[in-house]
């Protein structure tokens, strides 16, 4: 297999008049855990189904391991898909479900028995081989669905919102489980999800999708620290976004909502500051970029969430270390920002950090 497990080239698809995918480009490396992340309706599931061969693109190509498979039906592709609800065959036992793909590919009986037992062991479901899917819990069903898709040793495992039907505690456990399975089998995983914390926790790289387009591809850290678009800045983690305008009084500064930001070159950029990089200071503090009133203070465990309101009525989120904050609701405070943590989001192109990409 080539180093590129999947290459998707200028892929477009519409259903009726609605453009679901618009000129998508993706490259997934062999052996990586890659996530397609975006809100519902962004086209991520359609992209996955096109890679699986269950949908046909209107334009563009899909290459798997270097071979063009755009016109290849799903049963001849080296991919297997884990469906959202598992899609286990209700009239078959767990064993027969897992063995289905091996039988379809005419594997020998002894080999089937051996490999099904092996994969059931990997997902921790060995005792359930004789059970009917209807007797399993949601998490168990999803494990079987993963085993069924992995047993044929596909080059690429595709997962369509595999954890979204599970309750939160189970989701968190299954995330680690997915990551372990991916490492253990060395299979390339491509996972569709709308859950950004899930994508950030399990993925090597993430493609953020919105409205049929890929907004940005990168590691969780790259997406968090250097978003290249307004959408990514707002979708990945929490953010305070300011549409600034040049400050006529002082060059190199831009203003928004009663706050003044140091922006090299000035202009009217979109400025993003994460809540954890906004500090609440005395109104008279030299570092303050403006004033605000404390609207609420919430205890979140590891940190305290302070909601501020600027003179224009704009809400600003500030997170602070739980052990050092003494702000009170209704107090007039100053807002301070470490320039190193102020991100200028370009209209398009690459993110520019204000202090020459320091840190």
């Amino acid at each position: 297999m080539s180093d590129r497990a999947i290459a998707v080239r200028s892929l477009s698809k519409s259903f009726g008049r609605k453009d679901v995918l618009n000129d998508i480009e993706l490259t997934v490396r062999a052996g990586e855990f890659f996530s397609l992340l975006g809100p519902s309706g962004c086209g991520k599931s359609t992209a996955l189904r096109i890679i699986a061969g269950l949908e046909r693109p209107d334009r563009g190509r899909v290459l798997l391991g270097g071979a063009d498979v755009t016109g290849t039906p799903p049963h001849r592709r080296p991919t297997n898909l884990v469906f959202q609800q598992g899609a286990l065959f209700p009239h078959m036992t767990v064993f027969d479900n897992v063995a289905y793909g091996l039988r379809a590919r005419r594997t020998g009986r002894a080999e089937i028995t051996r490999r099904v037992a092996e994969i059931l062991d990997v997902v921790g479901m060995s005792e359930f081989a004789g059970r009917a899917p209807s007797t399993l819990s949601g998490g168990q069903r999803q494990r079987i669905a993963i085993a069924r898709a992995l047993v044929g040793r596909p080059d690429v495992l595709l997962l369509d919102e595999p954890l979204s039907a599970l309750d939160l505690g189970l989701q968190l456990r299954m995330r680690r489980e997915l990551r372990r399975l991916q490492r253990q089998t060395g299979t390339t995983f491509v996972c569709v999800t709308h859950n950004q914390s899930e994508a950030m926790e399990v993925s090597d790289r993430i493609a953020v999708m919105n409205d049929g387009r890929v907004e940005q591809i990168g590691t969780a850290e790259e997406l968090y620290r250097a978003p290249v678009s307004r959408f990514v800045a707002g979708f990945i983690g929490e953010n305070n976004l300011f549409d600034t305008a040049p400050d006529p009084g002082s060059p190199g500064r831009s203003r928004a909502d009663g706050l003044t930001f140091p922006v090299p070159g000035g202009g009217s950029p979109l400025v993003a500051v994460r809540p954890e990089f906004i500090r609440v200071v005395e109104p008279s503090d030299e570092g303050a970029i403006g004033g605000a009133v404390v609207r609420s203070v919430g205890f979140l465990g590891a940190r305290i969430r302070i909601v501020l309101e600027t003179s224009t009525g704009r809400e600003v989120l500030a997170d602070t270390d739980a052990h050092s904050s003494t702000v009170t609701v209704g107090a007039a405070v100053g807002v301070a920002v470490d320039p190193a943590h102020l991100t200028v989001v370009p209209a398009d192109g690459r993110a520019v950090r204000s202090e020459g990409a320091a840190g």
């Binding site: 699986a52 061969g53 269950l54 039906p73 799903p74 049963h75 991919t79 297997n80 898909l81 469906f83 959202q84 609800q85 899609a87 065959f89 209700p90 009239h91 289905y100 793909g101 379809a104 590919r105 069924r148 898709a149 044929g152």
Partner: protein
């Protein structure tokens, strides 16, 4: 409501259901009782009982020929309407294509056509274009298929609508062609619906007179038409005895179909109950028709 009032309401409900049952079953009971009667003409409780009329019915040549003929027609019509009805239901349930709604109504349309009219139309069609089809098993079975299809499409369509399309996709993804995926995954899950639809289709075709009577010469006819023709000439309990046999057979099959319908799940329960009570299919399915 007071306990006494509740008891009265319950008693009324039971009484009402009993009356409905009597209303439905009484005509059948009269036929069955008089088929064992020694009296040639009905009226009143039989003065004695005999199996003579059954013997006569089974010896009556047109009935014996007609029985085989009817079984052949019903068998052929059932198989054809099941195969094509399932294909149509599958296309309507799984594919979005222009004219899908039109196709759906075309398949339901024969239900709203009086059967006598359908029979006459087919007679004209055969007489003018396909004279060879007149009076043949194929010709009559084809006519019956038109009557059976709406029913098969409705029942199988309802079963398909309750299936997750992802199951078939999963089978294809795991290495099965589209055809094999249907065979391994979809077919086993609609088997009870197919059985129910098949039984009702068979009964409907077997009992059919209104359309069939136009499509065969008087000397070789299906069993119900033979009974109809004999009644026109002669009223003795031979036809009554034959009717009793048919009632027993129909009820048995209907019961089997109701069991099958129950196994396919709630969606078909209404159809099963309606058709079961009437022992004939399409009218029942028209009323309780589940939207696929």
């Amino acid at each position: 409501m007071t306990p006494a009032g509740r008891r009265a309401a319950a008693a009324l409900r039971v009484l009402f259901l009993a009356l409905v049952a009597v209303f439905v079953l009484l005509p059948l009971a009269v036929v069955v009782v008089s088929s064992f009667s020694v009296d040639e003409t009905g009226g009143g409780w039989p003065s004695g009982f005999t199996l003579r009329w059954f013997q006569r019915a089974l010896d009556h040549e047109p009935f014996r020929v007609g029985l085989l003929y009817s079984l052949e027609v019903a068998g052929v019509a059932t198989v054809i309407s099941l195969v094509f009805g399932t294909m149509a239901a599958y296309a309507i349930a799984r594919h979005r294509f222009p004219g899908r709604e039109l196709l759906r109504s075309v398949f339901v349309m024969p239900l709203s056509l009086p059967r006598v009219v359908a029979g006459f139309c087919l007679f004209v069609l055969y007489a003018s274009l396909f004279p060879a089809a007149y009076g043949t098993v194929g010709g009559i079975a084809f006519a019956h298929c038109l009557l059976l299809m709406p029913f098969v499409v409705a029942v199988v369509g309802a079963a398909l609508a309750g299936l997750d399309p992802a199951l078939e996709e999963a089978a294809r993804d795991l290495g099965s062609s589209a055809g094999r995926a249907f065979w391994h995954v979809t077919l086993p899950q609609i088997r009870w619906a197919l059985l129910a639809a098949g039984i009702f289709a068979f009964i409907t075709s077997f009992d059919e007179v209104d359309t069939s009577v136009f499509l065969m010469p008087a000397d070789t006819t299906t069993l119900p038409v033979a009974m109809f023709l004999r009644l026109e000439q002669q009223q003795d309990p031979t036809v009554t005895a034959m009717s009793s046999i048919l009632i027993a057979g129909s009820l048995l099959l209907a019961a089997a179909a109701a069991v099958a319908a129950r196994r396919t799940g709630g969606a078909l329960g209404g159809v099963g109950a309606t058709a079961g009570a009437r022992t004939t299919g399409p009218e029942g399915s028209a009323e309780g028709e589940p939207t696929p």
